[in-house]
Each structure stands twice: as C-alpha cells, then as structure tokens.
C-alpha cells in the first residue's frame, strides 16, 4: 500500500490560521535558500571586485545589458498579468501571456549569450582570470535559473491549455510566478553590482 495519505484542508488548519498556504510557504523557504546561494557567488564576485578592481581592462556593454534587463522586467509583468488572467478564468489570455513570457525569457538568454560571445572575443573567458571566472559563474548560474524558469513556464502553459489550471486551481501559476520574480530580483541586484556600480 504505497502510503499516500490524502492531505485535506484540515491538515493545514494551523498554517491557514496564520494566513499561510503550504505550497507558497515551501516556495518562499526555497527562495530563502536561493538568496543565500546567490549570496555566496555574489560575495565572491564583490570580494574580488573591491580587492582586485574589476573589470580592469574590458568595459562591459552596459546598454545591451540594460535592454536585456528591460526584457526581463517585461517578462515579470507578463507573468503577473497571466496570473490575473487565469484567476479571471480567461484561459486564452493566460496562454498568450505565458507564451509571451517564454519568448521574453528566451530573448533574455539570447542577449546574455550574445554578450558572453562578445566578451569571449575580447579574450575574457571563464578561465582567463579571476574576473572571468567569477563573472561568468555568477551570471551563468543566473542564466541557468532563467532557463529552468522557461522550461517551468512551458510546463505551466501546457497544464493551462489542458485545463488542469483554471480559475479555481491556479496556485501552480502563482508558485511559478514567485520563482520567476525572484530570478528577476536576483538580476536587478546583479545588474547593479556588476554593470552599473563602478
């Protein structure tokens, strides 16, 4: 008998009394650990930035990355609009907005890869030096999280099209939204620390 105790609402009475949903709580706790994970990578980057003075030689293409940041901000906007749409039961609009999010995500990744290629041409590679290592690892892991987010969006899109996600059951969209917005927040911090602050 595979033990799959059906979870009823009354199991979570203590949490609901505090105004908490167990899936959102799980997501926020996961975000807490992700904050610390990126914290480790950012601390390494900033340690070297302020002890070795980055980037010594190359000047980063701030305008291109600025546009890339706008793309990611837009994708946050489309995700939160998609959530409103599904809650109003407008399946079509939900699917369209989620598709737009996926495209914006891919656009961001392309912009990122373009910038990486440009840096590689200038000789700044993952193994070229301390700047290359910490920069590419930090932005690389953020890009990885965006890619995972895009895949997750595609899965959510199919679940929406299949009808499992609707006006009543849409917590999965909100959870995906939390993840996506968190990745967007990480990018805002990275954009400021790497590209803007000199």
């Amino acid at each position: 008998m595979s033990h799959q105790a059906m979870q009823h609402a009354e199991d979570f009475r203590a949490g609901h009394a505090l105004g908490l949903d167990h899936r959102k709580l799980g997501m926020w706790l996961f975000i807490a650990s992700e904050v610390m994970f990126f914290g480790g990578l950012i601390s390494a980057y900033l340690h070297y930035k302020y002890t070795l003075g980055f980037p010594e030689t190359t000047d980063l293409n701030v305008v291109l990355v600025g546009i890339n940041t706008m793309v990611l901000l837009t994708s946050s906007y489309t995700v939160v609009s998609a959530l409103t749409a599904i809650r109003q039961g407008r399946q079509g609009r939900f699917a369209a907005l989620l598709l737009l999010t996926i495209l914006l995500g891919v656009a961001f990744l392309t912009g990122q890869l373009y910038e990486f290629a440009d840096l590689y041409r200038q000789g700044v590679t993952l193994t070229s030096g301390v700047f290359g290592s910490s920069f590419f690892t930090l932005t690389g892991f953020h890009g990885l999280h965006v890619a995972v987010g895009v895949l997750w969006a595609i899965v959510t899109l199919f679940r929406g099209l299949r009808g499992t996600l609707n006006a009543e059951h849409n917590m999965a969209v909100e959870i995906f939204g939390l993840y996506w917005h968190f990745v967007d927040i990480v990018w805002i911090v990275l954009f400021t620390q790497i590209y803007l602050i000199v």
Binding site: L41, S43, S133
Partner: protein
C-alpha cells in the same frame, strides 16, 4: 483503514516510500552504516598514531583516511541521523499525519545513498586529502578523488536544504489544534532552530564547493593565487556554513535531552520557554561567529575581536540550557534507564566541550591552541560526547515507539559504560597533547607526545568495542525483543499517545493538545496529577 499493526514487510524500507516513519528509519539505518565506516577509519587513525613514526600509513594515505573520517562522520552520520529523528518524530509530536511535502521528503532521503557511494568512490579515485575543511589551494591540486568528494558534499547539502524546508513548513502548517508554539515539545524547537540554520547556511557552502569544483575541473581562477585568487575567501565561504553546522549537529541533540529528562525524572522540564528561546538564540548567534575559526589565518587582525565577543556570548544560552537540565532532574524521582544514563553522560561530556570552547574563543589562547589536538579534543567532546550520546539516548528512548519492541536494559547499560569510559579515555589526553604542542592532522609526532596518544588509542579501542553491544541489542531486540506498550515510559508528548509502532496515518483522528507537554509531577499540595491531554 489498515489495522494498527499492518504486516511490516522489510522490502518497503528498500524502496521509494513517502511515509515519514519509513523515511525516518531509512535515514537512521543508512547513517548508522556510515557511522561504522567512519569509526573504522577512526580506528585506522588511532592505530597509526599509537606510535610516533608513520609506520602503518604514509602521509598521503593518512590524510585520505583522516579526511574521509571527518567528512563521513559529519555529513553522512550526524546530520542524516538527526534528520532521521526529525522525520520520524516531528509529525507524531505535532499531531500530524505526515510531513507537508511527503515526496520531497523521500527525495531528500534518496540523495543520501548515492552521495555516500560517491564519497566512498572518491576514496578509490585517489581520495580527498585536504581534510573535511578542504582548504584551498591544497584542495585545488591533488588527485581526482577531491572532485568526487566535493560533488558528494554538495549533494548532501542540497538534501539537507530540502529536508529543512520540509521540517519548517510541516511545523508551521500542520500543528494539531490547541498546539500553540509554546506547547511544542523541545525536540521540535531544536529542529526548528536547526532547520533555520541549514536553510540559510548550507547554500553558501554549496556555492563555495561549486567554485572549488570549477577550479579543479574547468580551470577557473577563483583560488589560483598567482592570478589574484584569495585562499581566505574559501575559508569565509566554508566557515560561514561550517560553524552553524556544528550548531545544526548539537541543537536537535539538546532537543532529545530536553525530551528525556522530564520523562525519567517524572518532573516538568525546568524553564521551558528559556530553553526554547535559547535554542533560537544559539541558532541566530551561530550565524555571526564563523571567523573564530580563522583567528590565525590571513584575515585582517582588527576584525577578530567582534567574532571573539559573539563567540563568547553563545556560552550564555548554552549555560542556561545546562543549568535548566540540572534543575529538571533536581528533586526528581530519577529512573536510571539507558536513555537517562546517556542523557546524563551527554551533560557531563558536553560540558567539557562547552567550557573548552570558551578557551578557543579567547583569541590569545586560540593563537596557541588553534589547529592542535586541543581543538580535536574539544570537537570530539562536543560531537561524540554530545551529539552522539544524545543520539544513542534518543535511539534507546524511542526504540519501543519505532519498533514496537523493548530493548534489553542490561546490554544497554554495558554499552553506556563502555561508551562513557571510552570517550573520556580517548579525548581527555588529547587536550594536554594539544597544549604541549602537538599539531592537528599529523601522521607522525614528536616522541614526547607518545603516552597521550597511546591512552587515546586505548580509548578508541574501547569505543570501537562499545558499538558491538549496541548493534547486538538493536538487531536482536527489533527481531525478537518483548512487545512494547504504546507508552512504556508514561510520557506526555503526542507520539506516545498512539500505538507502537504507530499506524501509517499516525492517529485514528488528529488529537487536540490541551495540556503542556511536560505536565509531570504532582502539583503541591498533593492534588490529583494533571490529566494527560485528552487523546482524540
């Protein structure tokens, strides 16, 4: 609904199962296997150190044995076995049917065996030689085993993070009606504090290990000194996790002790709220003290003093706990069963560890004793004398609940006697060897330390011998021990209000907790003892 004593088939322990009780036992038994492996490596270390020269193991092999002893004992024994206790007991103690994310729970267990295999495999691929601390640049060079080692520790870290998310969410969401936070058993408080630390500290180690792995495999320059890499950065990333890790390993153990004392003294826990708040205080302070491991390193000398202050302040909540435990057993009716004996052993041995911790926090003394056998003695008194004694106490205390059978008291007491003598004999001489000038992690030492090391090796032999009665007792009693009652110790916490072993859904229906979980003893004047909380 299945009957309470469903036919327990052994097979379900070897396959994906989302019942928190099965996962709890899986964690405990798997980690015990790694405990024995780590113990065997400790035996090798002590055998080598019985004589001053490197006769049994040469320098490199000794470093591998010592490194894997430390890593196995921390990441594959103490952390998983405490996660096992947490998994088995938290749902039962808060009156829930299971953890809030059962599948995530099974996943975090099933990351342990592959990580363990990876760690063992690293041994044969020219194993990790840089100690469990894996300081760079030493851990950047060296044989490929070090990379497997780093991947294994990353996997174990991620498993611990998933576990922490599960524990915190379960305790917040699924407490039984009437179970306010001030009525939670103190073991649950210990797990809350531990899970907070795991959640916030482990990811930083994971990011550090990624940097080491990239440096080793891809050739990045995080820690390459010639191109500007900074070895002290790794020490920061490592110790930011690894000091909270020692509190992660002691807080649940303290929780177990707080559960055992009131039951066997038949007296309420003394200062419940102070103990609960001390757990949280230790957790929060624990996140601010990491650089006391780096007093002698290349860090900026002016920055050391704040770490000394915060490290010493942690002695206050720890002291509150020890004095509260003493006050709990004072004037009680002590039943000296095996769990109680181990709990008493915990206090006396953890005390030695705690006091020597203050020596290490004082910078001038630390500059002499850092990285010496004084530190080795301190950490073993806190971890072996502390956490492992508490784990043994917990294993005996909850043995009837988990297996439905009673363990043999006489064998349990011999196990305690051997363990207590062995621990003190093995680690007390190390204090003096360290003070007199014996550095840490050495395969050979100056002849003047021979006697201390020989006493320590004798103690280690006794410890090795002490695990045999435990194994015999555990296996035999689980198979053929006398049937245990639902509540053999007349305890008041919720896990004892259901059958032993509990049915898959834990409680016929979710109980309502009314009383305080430690409402033992007769209130004076001698009125009728407070009724146990109405079970359902």
């Amino acid at each position: 609904m299945t009957t309470a004593s469903a036919s327990v088939s052994w097979r379900r322990y070897f396959w994906w199962n989302t019942d928190h009780k099965v996962i709890g036992v899986q964690y405990i038994v798997t980690s015990f296997f790694f405990f024995i492996l780590g113990g065997a490596l400790a035996g090798l270390v002590r055998a080598e150190l019985a004589s001053p020269a490197t006769d049994l193991l040469d320098g490199a092999t000794y470093n591998q044995v010592m490194t894997n002893h430390g890593t196995l004992m921390i990441f594959l024994w103490v952390l998983p076995v405490l996660a096992g206790f947490g998994n088995y007991l938290i749902p039962l103690m808060i009156g829930a049917r299971d953890m809030v994310f059962p599948r995530l729970n099974a996943l975090s267990y099933w990351m342990i065996p592959p990580a363990g295999m990876l760690m063992i495999a690293s041994f044969f691929a020219g194993g990790a030689e840089a100690g469990w601390t894996a300081y760079v640049p030493l851990s950047i060079g060296g044989p490929p085993g070090q990379t497997l080692w780093a991947l294994s520790v990353m996997l174990l870290g991620i498993s611990a993070i998933f576990g922490a998310i599960n524990f915190l969410a379960t305790v917040i969401m699924m407490r039984a009606p009437g179970l306010s936070i001030w009525r939670l058993p103190l073991f649950v408080w210990g797990m809350i504090a531990t899970s907070t630390l795991i959640l916030t500290a482990t990811p930083v180690l994971t990011s550090g290990l990624i940097m080491v792995a990239l440096d080793r495999v891809v050739g990045t320059h995080f820690f390459t000194v010639t191109s500007g890499g900074d070895p002290v950065l790794w020490q920061n990333l490592f110790w930011f996790y690894s000091h909270p890790a020692v509190y992660i390993m002691i807080l649940p153990a303290m929780g177990i002790i707080s559960e055992i004392f009131p039951v066997f003294a038949r007296k309420p826990i003394f200062g419940y709220r102070m103990i609960a708040m001390s757990s949280m205080a230790i957790a929060i302070l624990g996140l601010t003290v990491w650089a006391h491991h780096m007093f002698t390193s290349g860090m900026d000398p002016r920055l050391r003093v704040p770490y000394m202050v915060s490290s010493m302040v942690i002695a206050v909540p720890t002291g509150i706990k020890i004095f509260s435990w003493l006050a709990t057993i004072w004037n009680g009716k002590l039943r000296l069963t095996t769990p109680m004996l181990f709990a008493l052993g915990f206090i006396s041995m953890f005390l030695i560890g705690g006091l020597t911790g203050i020596f290490l926090a004082a910078i001038p003394v630390d500059l002499h004793v850092h990285d010496t056998y004084f530190v080795v003695a301190h950490l073993h008194f806190v971890l072996f004398g502390g956490s492992v004694s508490a784990v043994y106490a917990g294993l005996y205390y909850w043995f009837p609940k988990i297996t439905g059978r009673m363990y043999d008291e006489k064998i349990g007491r011999t196990h305690f006697a051997l363990n207590f003598i062995g621990t003190n004999l093995a680690y007390l001489p190390m204090f003096i060897a360290g003070l007199m000038g014996m550095p840490r992690r050495v395969a050979a030492y100056d002849a003047s330390f021979t006697s201390y090391n020989q006493w320590a090796t004798l103690g280690a032999l006794i410890l090795a011998a002490s695990t045999l009665p435990f194994l015999y007792n555990a296996v035999l009693s689980w198979a053929r021990g006398p049937k245990a009652a639902a509540n053999p110790w007349q305890a008041l916490t919720l896990e004892w209000q259901t059958s032993s072993p509990p049915p898959p859904e834990n409680f016929p229906e979710i109980p309502t907790a009314t009383g305080d979980p430690y409402d033992y003893g007769e209130p004076s004047p001698a009125a009728e003892p407070a009724a146990a909380p109405a079970a359902g």
